[in-house]
Amino acid sequence: MVGRREFMRGAALGALAFTIGGAQVLLTPREARARGVPFRLLQAREAETLEAMGETLVPGARDAGIAHFIDQQISVPPEEALLEARILNVRPPYADFYKAATGAIDKAAAAQSDQRFAWLPADAQREFVNLMRQNKLPGWQGPPSGFVYFVLRSDAVDVVYGTVEGYEALGIPYQAHIMPLKRW
């Protein structure tokens, strides 16, 4: 039983919201990025890699706040996380997976071109991802690269297309019909 007290305590503490200047604020990942909300668990370079990778996978993912989304989600208890990683049987804590993934991306990028992924030119990034998805990147060390591709691509798709705006951009009515009339 999820008791009401427990439930409301969670909401009141905003343990799942973003933190700005010590205060908990409920924000979309896009807003969190726009306001420069500091990361909880991701290092700056990890976030940078995730943003660059997200943007390569799904245009718009950077501004949609993919790094903030992931950072926020890996900082909640795994059983509360709403990541596709959970459906995909990634073993918690999910932070381990994302840190291993970004590490593997940057190591493989460095092995190829002495640069981190985020600093590669766009066409080199695309070529990198194309090999990554096929498990064909030389020097890859970490979770299987095709799997990393799948998970990060799902996250990027989610922040870009899984939103009300994303549905609207594709011309589909968003009919989850559980939209609250106002934000909490």
Binding site: M1, V2, G3, R4, R5, E6, F7
Partner: protein, 56 residues
């Protein structure tokens, strides 16, 4: 409403899993007048229950 089962009280049937199949056993037995407890590892998503049984 039936009186809650006391701690350690023996019931007619205990069902591990408030699942599709567990529910059927539970409904059938409870309707036959049997005392039934379902134990479910996950949360109870019914907000109604959460609000009416605060802190349970």
């Amino acid at each position: 409403m039936a009186t809650p089962v006391k701690s350690g009280e023996k019931v007619d049937a205990v069902i591990a899993g408030a699942s599709a199949s567990g529910s059927v056993f539970a409904a059938t037995l409870a309707k036959a007048g049997k005392k039934v407890v379902l134990l479910e590892t996950g949360p109870d998503w019914q907000l109604s229950a959460a609000t009416s049984r605060a802190g349970a």
